[in-house]
């Protein structure tokens, strides 16, 4: 199983759609998803609309993505968080490292 992704905005924006659970089980799938980004991509957006919970390894995975891709990608976004997930991201101060809506 791999995560759903799509390219928008003239292939410049890669959107990764996370599933219900965003935890250590997704390490490989998540990595595959962002490494699949074609060269012209400059924005990675993680859509969490279906995510009901995340744990600290998910936080680690997000940061790791940022560290890995920082040379290629100028903007990292997290969108459509449900309130419970937004709380975790806020506690961990992720609102400072990612553009969040």
């Amino acid at each position: 199983m791999s995560l759903d992704t799509c390219l928008v905005n003239g292939n410049k924006d890669l959107i990764i759609f996370m599933e219900e659970r965003f935890d250590f089980d997704k390490v490989q799938e998540f990595r595959d998803a962002y490494l699949s980004a074609p060269d012209e991509v400059n924005t990675i957006t993680v859509d969490l609309s279906n995510t009901e919970y995340m744990d600290s390894s998910a936080l680690g995975m997000l940061l790791n993505m940022q560290k890995t891709m920082v040379d290629k990608i100028s903007t990292f976004k997290i969108i459509n968080c449900r309130p419970q997930v937004a709380k975790i991201l806020k506690i961990s101060r992720f609102d400072k490292k990612f553009e969040m809506n």
């Binding site: 659970r21 935890d23 250590f24 089980d25 390490v27 490989q28 990595r31 609309s49 279906n50 009901e52 919970y53 995340m54 744990d55 600290s56 390894s57 936080l59 680690g60 995975m61 940061l63 790791n64 560290k67 890995t68 969108i79 459509n80 449900r82 309130p83 419970q84 997930v85 975790i88 506690i91 961990s92 101060r93 400072k96 490292k97 809506n101």
Partner: protein, 547 residues
């Protein structure tokens, strides 16, 4: 044709009887006095009465109205027979309720022609009366059925009393039954859901679909499902129930406990608008989807729009019955009219809006159901206290041996078990995170003895998970026990984990820097839990979550 002859003179009666027999009316009865006539009429139910005016006890003028009264709704022709020929006497015959008169001496042809004419009218009256009775019977049957259906609708489509007061709304069906639906339920995680929709058409036919929708919506709200799951399921239900030419335009909305975060799915409804207190439209949730009950399960799009409003902002929604409202000059109201009322008068009440729409409609007929709702952003945390929580103390214990640890992660299953208890849904997300953190700590560090420092570099991060997998597959011994207990008095969930590992120095755990990709777990659960304690040299941990 049964005729009653009333005359005090036997000769007159005999002559009439004879004449009628010859004319083909053999079924005749005689009465000598007014009283006898009334008694006999009661018994024999005549189709026509020939009534003498001058009689000794009661005269014809007295008897006629009583006979008429006796006949009820069915026309009973009363023909006066009289020797008088002055205008006043004849006029009076008709005024007291008589239908005609025949003057003595009788002309047989004229009298029988009159009898035939009145008999026709009586037949017509009998037929109409029968049809009226049938109609009445049918109408009463329909009324009874409607009353039953109305009762069912009233019970099924009630707004949850807890969330009702957060809305200013008006529902105005075009007929008794409403094809528009407005429902709201509290969310188990705090906050609320609402559903506003419009079935094709109006009246009973379009209202029946509301029943399964309401039940499903209420059940899903209670489970705290996401807006996309709710819309998806409603679509599936309606797809299987509705005829092909019928569907359900709807918006499904979740409002967070803060009262200002909206998740919206809009399929086929007019725009939902967010209006600021200054009268600015800060957001319009346009319809991004087809109405419910059209698309096959695979084609259905469940994506949601999100928006953060500010306290005091209003979320306004209405059905197309409002904007398609047409006045006598055949002009439509249109949604720009409503939005302009809102921008020029941001505090306008729903009552005032509907007052203005009524004024616009004037004398034209209301053709479609009308729904208008307004929600003003406010803190919804008091809704949380209204959620029912189980009174039952319970403990769920799971002992995980090597074969389970290798094969799968038990977190999801445990969370489902706990959340199947009444009211636990509200902590589902926090509980998932906490169990996941504690379990990973026990497994990774207690059982598999992994060192978090491996995660320091980006490549190390993946290396860590690689080593973890290798060690897990080769695992020969180890055990993790997870025990979750609930104390109803304190409304506390305690999560206890013990592992068979070597423990760790929990006093040395320190918070890492923000950029580190690891080491956030413990500080994260400390924020989510009321308390977190380690025992037995770090082999056991007890975390408590306030429900």
């Amino acid at each position: 044709m049964r005729i009653l002859i009333v005359d005090d003179e036997s000769l007159n009666r005999f002559m009439l009887l004879h004449m009628l027999e010859e004319a083909g009316y053999p079924d005749c009865f005689e009465a000598e006095t007014g009283r006898e006539a009334l008694q006999l009429a009661k018994k024999i139910r005549p189709d026509l009465v020939l009534l003498d005016v001058v009689m000794p006890d009661m005269d014809g003028y007295e008897v006629a109205p009583l006979l008429k009264k006796m006949a009820g709704d069915i026309y009973l022709p009363v023909i006066f027979i009289t020797a008088m020929d002055d205008q006043a006497a004849l006029t009076r015959c008709l005024e007291v309720g008589g239908d005609d008169f025949a003057t003595k001496p009788f002309d047989r042809n004229i009298l029988t022609a009159k009898i035939r004419a009145h008999a026709r009218t009586r037949l017509l009256s009998i037929r109409t009366n029968k049809q009226n009775r049938e109609l009445n019977y049918f109408r009463k049957g329909v009324e009874r059925e409607h009353a039953i259906v109305e009762h069912i609708f009233a019970n099924a489509l009630t707004l949850n009393p807890g969330t009702k007061r957060f809305f200013d709304y008006r529902l105005a069906p075009a007929s008794t039954f409403n094809g528009d639906v407005f429902l709201s339920e509290p969310s188990p995680s705090g906050g609320l859901y609402f559903l506003m929709g419009d079935f094709t058409g109006h009246g009973l036919a379009s209202a029946v679909g509301a029943l399964p929708v309401a039940r499903a919506f209420q059940a899903m709200s209670r489970k705290g499902l996401s807006v996309s799951e709710i819309s998806q399921t409603l679509n599936e239900i309606l797809l299987s129930l509705l005829p092909e030419d019928m569907f359900f335009a709807a918006v499904v909305v979740e409002i967070s406990v803060s009262g200002q975060q909206f998740s919206v799915w809009n399929g086929g409804m007019p725009d939902l608008a967010v209006v600021t207190p200054e009268g600015r439209i800060s957001k319009r949730f346009i319809s991004l989807h087809m109405a419910l009950g059209i698309l096959e399960v695979d084609d259905f799009e469940e994506n949601i729009e999100y928006f953060n409003a500010r306290l005091g902002d209003r979320l306004i929604g209405y059905s197309d019955g409002v904007i398609e409202l047409t006045n006598a000059e055949e002009q439509m109201l249109g949604d720009e009219a409503i939005l302009s009322w809102l921008t020029s008068d941001p505090a306008i009440t729903v009552e005032e809006i509907s007052h203005r729409t009524e004024k616009f409609r004037g004398k034209a007929e209301q053709l479609d159901d009308i729904t208008l709702i307004s929600y003003t952003c406010q803190d919804l945390s008091e809704l949380k206290s209204q959620i029912e929580i189980t009174q039952l103390p319970f403990t769920i214990t799971v002992e995980l041996k090597v074969e389970q640890l290798i094969k799968f992660t038990p977190i999801y299953d445990i969370v489902v078990m706990v959340c199947s208890q009444l009211g636990m849904q509200r902590v589902r997300s926090d509980l998932s995170t906490v169990i996941s953190e504690l379990f990973m700590n026990s497994l990774d560090h207690g059982i598999l003895k992994l060192d978090s420092n491996i995660k320091k570099s980006t490549e190390g991060f993946f290396e860590y998970f690689k080593i973890r997998n290798q060690r897990l597959q080769k695992l020969k011994q180890g055990e993790i026990t997870i025990s979750i207990g609930y104390e109803p008095q304190a409304t506390l969930l305690s999560i206890k984990l013990s592992d068979s590992g070597d423990g760790f120095d929990y006093q040395r755990v320190q918070s890492n820097q923000e950029s580190d990709t690891y080491g956030r777990g413990i500080s994260l659960i400390k924020t989510l839990c009321q308390s977190v304690q380690y025992f037995d040299e770090g082999r056991s941990v007890l975390a408590k979550i306030k429900v």
